[in-house]
């Protein structure tokens, strides 16, 4: 990350800022969270529905 470069005595870039700057990590999380909680969980519930009792 180029944000870390610069003069040695400069203040260090905080971890959170590095995390926010990592667009591809955010992309991975942004896809994974809805896919797990919304899509997969939802489809699993449909798959496991009981069938008509009679």
């Amino acid at each position: 990350m180029s944000g870390q470069q610069g003069k040695g005595e400069e203040e260090r870039v905080p971890m959170w800022q590095l995390f926010y700057d990592n667009i591809f990590l955010l992309l991975a999380l942004g896809v994974a969270i809805p896919v797990v909680f919304y899509t997969l969980w939802g489809v699993m519930e449909l798959v496991n529905l009981p069938v008509w009792p009679k």
Partner: protein
């Protein structure tokens, strides 16, 4: 590395403008406006049919026009414009070249072919299925193919955005973190990936089913997957709109984000949690459990709502700070009184914030709770809500930014400035009337997507509360105002592109 002649320097902003990127931005923006025009024409027909005093179209044409209105507005107009925004935010704002412009043209061609195919199928009456095309309602296979082509094109365009970020960092066209507006555009692009992935998962099997290759598509599974496309596509709009709020704040009054950490945190909360909201659409569905519904419709503890509350504070606050810096410091509100209300972009920005926040946001969050959803699901309250978000919010913000795109990208002076000044107000007032008319009519149980609220010809005859006619009249008059505002926008835009005085 690209050759230096591929760039020009913008005399106003000093930005280095990559010419192939500029051409792609122009093409996508122009086509967006063409689809907007189709959408506006359909809007008038739909509204004039739902206004009982007019009841313009017959049933068949009403449902066809409604299908076309939804798809052209919510998908084609908005996504073409958003692709232009993504190219602008990556290549232009980062002073970079756009990755693989040839692929950009391929994306453009795919999106154009797809959207054209969809519109032709709708016009031919082969796809009277509404925007949602809920199975087992069936359209012609070419309708689904059109949607797939459009989605693939949009995915290619989105990938170019990400690739351009990589190139800009590698070529060191900027140092440190992305500008906030680019970060907002990246949020939109990430949400777009979620959207398009769900689109591919659901439209491909549905097309095969429509061709007779697959026998059965489960109705509930379709709804989960389709809404994994349907609602996130609107969350792209939210993120893009807010990126544009920050952009317009900077362009109109020179606003600076008051705290980068806060603004960016709000975007990160969108990325992580906003897409859970798709479950709103299934709150009164069989199949999925209450636990799933509650967790997802709360956006995992309302964290995405928190994000909107943050933007709702930071954008106006940054405008206030910028105004006060200019010396408008008398009392609490001099900064607001002395704001550039005659600048159509500023007017559009302010109206967009107010309409999105106070009408769209509040209706959205409340309708997304189980108990209120029971009394709002599939009623006119729902289109009442999203006309405040995606039209009063996103479309108005896009209109606002257009008044800067025209001089900066098309390098033409905006024509008919006097009309441009009133355009956002006309459109804004119209759409507020549409939204409120629909929302309140919906609270009387009036369905959305319904040709005849008098149920003429039905064997059983429910009585309709007379208040509904008044409310739908307000909607109808508002629709006429909004359509006039929209036509004005189209005329000004087209007039400027064709006949505006060249600048720079």
């Amino acid at each position: 590395m690209s050759v230096p002649t591929a760039f020009r320097t913008c005399p106003t902003t000093g930005l280095k403008v990559h010419l192939p990127a500029e051409n792609l931005i122009k093409a996508n923006a122009v086509v967006a406006v063409v689809f907007f025009l189709i959408g506006v024409a359909m809007a008038l027909l739909v509204a004039m049919t739902r206004w009982p005093a007019v009841h313009l179209l017959g049933d068949e044409f009403f449902y066809r026009a409604l299908t076309a209105h939804g798809i052209n507005m919510l998908i084609f107009w908005i996504i073409f414009f958003e692709i232009a925004v993504l190219y602008f935010a990556s290549a232009i704002l980062l002073n970079s070249r756009l990755a693989a412009p040839k692929l950009g043209w391929l994306a453009f061609a795919l999106m154009l072919a797809g959207s054209g195919l969809v519109d032709v199928m709708i016009a031919l009456g082969k796809a009277d299925v509404m925007m949602t095309s809920y199975v087992p309602l069936k359209a012609h296979p070419l309708f689904y193919l059109g949607m797939i082509l459009f989605a693939v094109g949009a995915l290619v365009g989105t990938s170019l955005f990400f690739a351009t970020l990589v190139i800009a960092r590698r070529d060191r066209t900027y140092e440190g973190s992305l500008p906030l507006v680019v970060f907002g555009a990246a949020t939109a692009a990430i949400i777009a990936v979620v959207t398009i992935a769900h689109g591919a998962i659901i439209y491909i099997p549905t097309m095969l089913w429509s061709m007779g290759i697959i026998e059965h598509i489960d109705a509930s599974t379709y709804r989960i997957l389709w809404w994994g496309l349907g609602h996130p596509s609107q969350q792209i709009n939210v993120a893009a709109m807010i990126a544009i709020w920050y952009l317009l704040g900077a362009l109109t009054v020179g606003a600076k984000p008051i705290n980068e950490k806060l603004c960016r945190t709000a975007f990160v909360l969108y990325i992580l949690f906003i897409n859970l909201a798709s479950a709103h659409h299934l709150l009164v569905d069989p199949g999925v459990s209450s636990t799933w519904k509650i967790w997802n419709t709360s956006y995992a503890m309302y964290l995405a709502v928190l994000a909107s509350m943050i933007h709702g504070m930071t954008v106006p606050a940054s405008i206030e700070v910028a105004q006060r810096r200019k010396g408008y410091t008398k009392g609490l509100f001099e900064w607001l009184k002395k704001a550039p209300w005659g600048n159509p972009s500023f007017a559009a920005l302010t109206l967009s914030i107010v309409i999105f926040g106070f009408i769209g946001g509040i209706t959205g969050v409340t309708f997304g709770t189980e108990q209120i959803n029971i009394i709002s699901h599939n009623t006119l309250r729902i289109p009442g809500h999203f006309h405040a978000t995606v039209v009063g919010g996103t479309t108005l913000a896009f209109m606002g930014v257009t008044y800067y795109v025209l001089p900066l990208i098309f390098r033409r002076q905006v024509v008919a400035q006097a009309l441009a000044k009133i355009q956002p107000y006309l459109f804004g007032v119209g759409i507020v009337m549409v939204s409120l008319g629909m929302t309140f009519a919906g609270s009387y149980g009036i369905s959305r997507r319904h040709w005849d609220i008098t149920f003429a010809g039905a064997t059983l005859q429910p009585a309709v509360d007379p208040t509904v006619y008044l409310l739908l009249g307000i909607m109808g008059i508002g629709a006429i105002l909004a359509v006039l505002g929209a036509l004005l926008y189209i005329l000004i835009t087209v007039g400027t592109v064709l006949a505006g005085k060249k600048t720079g």
